[in-house]
């Protein structure tokens, strides 16, 4: 437990002594802020048109903040995460392998598990900070409108488990190579694959399509944005996270045997 905490602290600190965390967080906030502005501006325009033209109101059906602002906002944030998270995870093992520090780390009296969990939660902490900063967007909505609070909370829960899954996969990619670019590229590729695969579920036999869309991120995320927390989705993410953590441990171990 103590070793876990020491590694966690060290990793978290090194995110902020190098410019990585600042750059990633800044760009993340700029892009998500831009999307938020666009969504709100569109919503305002439509609302204004609806007040003078009832036909527009009819066309959009329910004109409420949750449907038109909150849900797309979470969708957009998750896409930006897809692009940003590999940049946070790529260095976690690659850098230690490249500089050789892994040799010292693994000859200290620590277990691989403590090292892995320390790194995982340090990255998760940076990610949580990013999420907290995006909290300004729903806060503005609450101040100037009446969004439902439920979907906002479950939406954040969805982003949190999604982010943890991204980190788990990203760390796994990082353990594969001592080259950070390769680690990031593998993570991007795998994440996009898990993201997009549900698209092909409509093209194949329905029974296979169901499996495909279960494996993909997309469907599980949608429920959260609607304000529904389903244990099935939680289990999906938990299994995803544990699977890639387990694979990372195996990679660390096999590195030792290969020498």
């Amino acid at each position: 437990m103590r070793n876990f905490y020491l590694i966690f602290k060290k990793e978290l600190k090194s995110y902020f002594t190098s410019p990585i965390a600042y750059v990633v967080i800044t760009i993340f906030m700029v892009i998500s802020g831009y999307f938020f502005y666009n969504i709100v501006a569109t919503f305002a325009t439509i609302s204004y048109q609806a007040t003078i033209n009832p036909m527009v109101a009819k066309q959009y059906g329910l004109l409420n903040v949750t449907e038109i602002v909150v849900r797309p906002l979470f969708g957009n944030i998750s896409v930006i995460m897809l692009l940003m998270m590999p940049l946070l995870t790529m260095r976690l093992f690659s850098e230690e392998k490249k500089t050789g520090t892994i040799e010292l780390l693994l000859t200290y009296p620590v277990t691989d598990m403590e090292v892995l969990l320390g790194k995982f939660f340090a990255c998760l902490a940076v990610f949580v900070l990013m999420l907290v900063l995006t909290g300004t967007y729903p806060l503005l909505l609450i101040i100037y409108g009446q969004p439902e609070i439920g979907p906002v909370i479950t939406g954040y829960l969805g982003l949190l488990v999604l982010g943890a899954s991204f980190i788990s996969l990203g760390i796994f990619a990082s353990s594969l190579s001592e080259n950070q670019i390769i680690a990031a590229t593998v993570a991007f590729g795998a994440l996009i694959f898990f993201w997009m695969m549900s698209f092909s579920s409509a093209l194949v036999d329905p029974s296979i399509g169901k499996i495909i869309s279960y494996i993909s991120f997309t469907d599980h995320l949608e429920a959260f944005a609607k304000g529904v927390v389903d244990t099935e989705d939680i289990i999906y993410y938990a299994v995803f996270i544990i699977l890639f953590m387990f694979l990372t441990l195996r990679i660390l171990e096999s590195n030792k045997w290969r020498g």
Partner: protein, 311 residues
């Protein structure tokens, strides 16, 4: 303290270690000598638990490296060859981190870190980033992290490589001061380092132990008979003929023709004789110039090359 028995290590089809055995007694400094690629680093990595051996046994402080790696890791300090350190950490933070992770109690960490920074002369740079330090300082930080838990066993892989002569002397002094209650294995391919710091030498080549002895014994063992080197100004043929007649001299050979009439000769001496004074008087009697005379001591370098190049 350290027992290594029949250790082998394969990297794919390449056999890096072909059954190495040696022991190190408590408080001893063992020099681990060999050319590049001999298997020094591999052996050290096995001892520190970084990776396991293919076969064989290794025990450190009574604990098997493969069965109880955590117990072993608690008791060793390791300095890898290229001194891998976290460049984005401040020296004192880094040492606090290693102290913690090596199991020093929280309340003792401050004292331990201060002590080890003093021992390694790091106090001046304690607030600098490791990445900004010179090679010599980084080496000392590496040594400090190995020492921070006051380990029973120190394993140092080429601790003086890439340092300037002054720094080398400092590090060697530091290592010598550490001896006594600690057991140290030190790998190097700089031979004077071994004769200066180590009590015993293990020479390995191509994954095999070729010699284990004290530096002094190694020198005399290979050297065998005594030889003299003499530099004389005079006619070479006469000198060889005349010197052979001197009492105690077995053989005279020209080693090297220097400038003009000056040459260097190697004189083999008969067992138990010391013909130096007679050689000198013979040279003077003939009116030649005696420029230099010294016993030929094989340096560790020559022994080493002899050991690792012989078939």
């Amino acid at each position: 303290m350290i027992e290594v028995e029949n250790l082998t290590k394969n990297y794919g089809s390449y056999q890096a270690l072909k059954g190495i055995s040696f022991t190190v007694k408590k408080g001893e400094i063992l020099g681990f000598l060999g050319p590049n690629g001999a298997g020094k680093t591999t052996t050290m990595r096995i001892l520190t638990g970084f990776f396991p051996a293919t076969s064989g046994k290794a025990k450190v402080a009574g604990f098997d490296v493969f069965e109880e790696p955590l117990e072993v890791k608690k008791r060793i300090g390791y300095l890898p060859e290229n001194v891998p350190l976290y460049r984005d950490m401040v020296v004192s933070d880094y040492l606090r981190f290693t102290a913690g992770i090596k199991g020093i109690k929280k309340m003792d960490i401050g004292d331990r870190v201060r002590k080890v920074m003093q021992d390694c002369a790091l106090t001046d740079v304690s607030h600098k980033l490791i990445g900004e330090l010179s090679k010599g300082y980084r080496q000392r930080v590496g040594l400090a992290q190995a020492l921070v838990n006051d380990p029973e066993v120190l394993i140092l892989d080429e601790p003086t490589i890439g340092l300037d002569p002054k720094q080398i002397i400092e590090i060697r002094k530091l290592i010598k001061n550490l001896a006594g209650k600690r057991t140290i294995i030190l790998s190097t391919h700089i031979l004077p380092e071994v004769s200066m710091t180590c009590q015993r030498v293990v020479i390995i080549n191509k994954g095999e132990v070729v010699a284990v002895d004290t530096p002094q014994n190694l020198t005399s063992k290979i050297y065998g008979r005594n030889k003299l080197i003499i530099r004389i100004d005079g006619p070479s043929g006469d000198i060889q003929r005349e010197l052979k007649t001197v009492r105690g001299v077995d053989k005279v050979e020209v080693k090297e023709v220097m400038s003009g009439s000056v040459s260097e000769y190697i004189v083999d001496i008969k067992e138990g004789e010391d013909p130096r004074r007679w050689v000198a008087s013979q040279v003077v009697k003939n009116g030649w110039g005696l420029l230099e005379m010294r016993p030929l001591e094989m340096s560790l370098e020559e022994i080493f090359i002899k050991l690792v190049t012989k078939e």
